[in-house]
Symmetry: C2
DNA sequence: TAATGACTTTCACCTAATGAAATTCATATG
DNA sequence: CATATGAATTTCATTAGGTGAAAGTCATTA
């Protein structure tokens, strides 16, 4: 075991990387999966078969791998029960209110290692709106969400324009947990043409209010 | 490697079992997780830490483990994109129609090893109705879903009453994929007091029709 | 029919996983 | 305040389990 892997579990991590690769790809062949995680096909196959055996993956008649029922069960369970569900459930009304107030799409994001994941949304009602970022990740560096999630948690709003995709602007505020730590971020995402200086002031206030309200809810359960 | 584990990957499987245990429990201590999967705490801890390191799990200040952001990302992705999402998306209108037509809750189930998992639902509009089985599993043996999922796929309806929970009755029909294999089952679940002989005939026909319609949709995409 | 590319199996090597035991930590208890 | 109790953590000698190169299949394509 080299120094870099001292606290890990190589074989398990490889299996998880493969699981990730398969789910991210949706449907993938042995060869593609193996090269995605940089493993020899023989090793990848062994892991993929083990995952299939346990129902985490399916394999269709053409040999393509995709999500399996066991993973789906866990996915549904994790999103409907447990601590994570509590957070998204608590966030729902605030996201809805925020989307309505600003007319833009509102998102809830949490940190995943060196990235931020969007885990819930309330979409804008407008025809041109920001959609489909739930489940998606963006880097922590160079983004407003990233700065917010890594920040010390002062109740500030950060704005940013076009760092991930051009024409997308954001206003973000931190959600604080019981110990005053940043547990999530609430953001409003929209076309930069609309989320410009003038209207951003409105969004700014609304995002901040939503984040503070959610933080409050998390401290003392309703 | 013993004969029984010839095609598996022990270490990875243990990690996945722990992941399963944690998510199923929602929040769990090292000791409880270890005994849930029958491992020494030292071994369990190593795996749990590796999972935590990769973001699949979180650990709170009290040492309790729960789902982590990486898993949430994969959960959201798997349910919104990929083959599984395709199935549930295709099923949605049929489930809705079925729930409306029968006045009972409709479910979509797939097979997970020796169990059946409910992966989508349309709830009955009635006050007394069947709820909350999404993400839940039932045995294949002794249940109508089980018989349907393991069956040869003749387009028949199976009924059953109270085998999993008393007072719950079911009417189930198989959903067939491109090769004529059983890929899922559609069921109507309700209180046995309502789903009795007389009204079941209506449900029977409706379930069968819904399953056939969905099978048809899966063959030739809309 | 041969050549190509993708999947599968085999197997000798040896590292990475294992778990018993010792240690630390946190919390009850006398 | 000392001490006992239970849980989490670290250590480390042992070896079973994981590894991947290479050879073998299988299914297409030329």
């Amino acid at each position: 075991m080299t120094a870099a892997t001292l606290h890990k579990s190589r074989s398990a991590e490889r299996a998880l990387n493969l699981l990730d690769a398969v789910i991210t790809a949706g449907s993938i062949s042995l060869g593609d999966a193996a090269s995605a995680v940089d493993l020899p096909t023989s090793t990848a196959l062994r892991h993929l078969r083990a995952l299939e055996h346990d129902g985490y993956l399916n394999r269709d008649p053409h040999g393509m791998f995709s999500v399996g029922p066991t993973f789906l069960r866990l996915a549904l369970t994790s999103l409907r029960e447990g601590p994570a569900a509590h957070l998204t459930k608590a966030a729902r009304p605030h996201l809805d209110r925020l989307a309505e107030a600003t007319g833009e799409s509102a998102y809830l994001a949490v940190r995943e290692r060196s990235r931020a994941v969007y885990i819930a949304t309330a979409e804008s009602a407008r025809a041109i709106r920001h959609v489909g970022w739930v489940g998606r990740t963006v880097p922590l560096t160079g983004t407003a969400v990233g700065a917010t999630l890594t920040g010390t948690g002062e109740a500030t709003v950060l704005r940013n324009t076009g760092s991930v995709e051009p024409d997308v602007a954001a206003a973000v505020a931190p959600v604080l947990g019981t110990e005053g730590t940043v547990v999530a971020a609430i953001s409003v995402l929209g076309p930069s043409s609309r989320l410009d200086n003038a209207s951003t002031d409105t969004a700014t206030i609304a995002v901040l209010a939503a984040a503070e309200a959610l933080s409050h809810d998390l401290r003392g359960p309703t």
